[in-house]
């Protein structure tokens, strides 16, 4: 009985825990050189409203639970699609906020996602 309750609450905690994902479209330094901000990128996390980001834009989405999918479609200055990526990912690190870098993602770099802590 008690065990069930505990498990249930752990479960609820996991699926209920809310995270803030910062979607960021800035130049970013990567091991393999700088990834330039994308001229325009359309981002969709899970089934939330798609968001359009222009260079140096930053937007945020609120999500529940750890595992999510993000799909982005990048465009060039003339709004021609230059590629789209779809990635399922888990939020491993212990943090309430994560920074998702679109350029890095587009560049298929490793650390396109990193925990983020707002300076108090």
């Amino acid at each position: 009985m008690l065990l069930v309750l505990v498990l249930l609450s752990v479960f609820l905690y996991n699926i209920g825990k809310g995270y803030t994902l910062l979607l960021d479209n800035k130049d970013i330094e990567l091991p393999g050189g700088t990834a330039k901000a994308l001229a325009m990128v359309e981002v969709q996390v899970d089934n939330e409203e798609p968001i359009e980001l222009y260079p140096r834009d930053r937007d945020m989405v609120l999500v529940n639970g750890k595992s999510h999918t993000i799909s982005i479609t990048a465009y060039n200055k003339s709004f021609a699609e230059i590629g789209s990526y779809k990635i399922r990912f888990k939020l491993r690190e212990k943090s309430d906020m994560f920074l998702l870098s679109m350029p890095a993602l587009a560049a298929e770099a490793e650390d396109w996602i990193s925990p983020f802590s707002p300076q108090r």
């Binding site: 309750l5 609450s9 825990k17 809310g18 609120l62 529940n64």
Partner: protein, 383 residues
């Protein structure tokens, strides 16, 4: 009694039955009259009032239902339900701090509140067992006392002893929870789970289902052995004890159940409102709930589920209407405000007086019933 009255009713013509009804339930009757007078005076539209009533039902029913079981166990009106409300609020503070969102958050809060409620309920039960015959005044004071402890924990403990991360919660001085806690994460998540709209009135179906579930549980509970024992104790502790029913334990259980329900009830109440007044939300709850169930026709020793819903509706109808009515009639909204406060306390007073009265009469009757029995022998005069 019951069967006799039934027989009576069968023989009676409609008007007679109506009069009987009024004499049986004077309080509800009175309030129906008040409402009938006040509603037109307030000038509210029917639509508006229905919407209001629905909201109030959703908010309060669960809390008020938590009162039934102690009444059944003969422990009177459980003013100690406030402790449950406190447990609920502490739980809400935690899930808000951890940022648990939506329905999971709400249920997590409920689960969290339970162990606390059980603890508080157990303590309350213990104390009330020490104050048999004056449960009500004791639980009443206990609520105040607990409020002190609650403030100690929330206003001084949290953020210093108990770790609370979020700045939104903690006072700028670095510890203690802010006066108002925004429950945006769980705001009306249950109400809006299955939103349906009838004639422009939205009805939070999910919450209603949840409440119905509880009602079923209570009805079923009355059919269990435990329920039977509680009814027995409620009617005659000594006899129940002689029959080997664990009186004290059962009384404690009754209070624990009530407290747990009150905790959950408070969570439902607050998710509907959407913000929590850390240091006030729980205080009024006890009084309002009790006034409501009494207005619904319950007494200190008898309460049915029907009383709860009727009560909540009548009480809150008056609550919504009276200020405007006061304004339009005497030109003073304040008057209406005070009127409803007066009514809340007045009705409780009346109910208590009537109960005490009845109890004295019953004592006399039972004395009469004893006539002819050798009381000396009963007292074991040889000893």
């Amino acid at each position: 009694m019951k069967s006799v009255e039934k027989k009576k009713k069968e023989q009676q013509s409609l008007p007679e039955r109506f009069i009987l009804l009024i004499t049986e339930y004077p309080v509800p009757a009175l309030f129906i009259v008040i409402s009938i007078l006040a509603i037109p005076a307030s000038g509210f539209s029917v639509g508006y009032l229905t919407q209001e009533l629905i909201t109030r039902l959703v908010r309060n029913s669960f809390l008020v239902l938590s009162l039934i079981i102690p009444i059944m166990a003969g422990m009177g009106l459980n003013f100690g339900m406030t402790l449950g409300a406190m447990a609920g609020q502490i739980a809400l503070i935690f899930i808000t701090d951890w940022g648990i969102i939506g329905l999971p958050g709400l249920f997590l809060a409920m689960i969290l509140s339970m162990p606390m409620s059980v603890l508080f309920g157990y303590a309350t039960g213990k104390i009330l067992n020490k104050a048999k015959g004056r449960e009500m005044v004791t639980s009443f004071i206990l609520a105040f006392f607990a409020n002190g402890i609650y403030q100690l924990i929330v206003l001084y403990g949290m953020g210093s002893v108990i770790n609370i991360g979020s700045d939104a919660l903690v006072l700028s001085r670095g510890y203690g929870i802010r006066n108002a806690v925004n429950l945006i994460n769980v705001r009306q998540v249950m109400d809006n789970l299955v939103p349906i709209k009838l004639f422009g009135i939205n009805i939070p179906l999910a919450t209603f289902l949840f409440i119905t579930l509880l009602c079923v549980m209570i009805l079923w509970f009355k059919k269990t052995k435990l329920g039977q024992d509680m009814r027995a104790i409620g009617q005659d502790m000594a006899v129940a004890d002689a029959a080997g029913i664990a009186v004290e334990k059962t009384r404690i259980i009754a209070i624990v159940i009530s407290t747990v329900l009150a905790g959950i009830g408070q969570i439902i109440y607050l998710q509907n409102i959407g913000t929590m007044n850390t240091y006030n939300s729980h205080e009024q709850i006890g009084m309002f709930s009790i006034a409501a169930i009494l207005i619904g026709g319950a007494t200190v020793s008898k309460a049915k589920i029907g009383n709860v819903f009727l009560g909540v509706m009548l009480f809150h109808l008056m609550f919504v209407v009276s200020p405007m009515a006061g304004k339009n009639l005497i030109g003073s909204a304040m008057l209406g405000e005070y009127f409803r406060v007066f009514v809340s306390y007045g009705v409780i007073s009346i109910a208590l007086v009537l109960h005490a009265w009845k109890r004295l009469k019953e004592q006399e009757r039972s004395r009469a019933g004893l006539q002819g029995i050798a009381t000396e022998e009963a007292r074991g005069s040889e000893a």
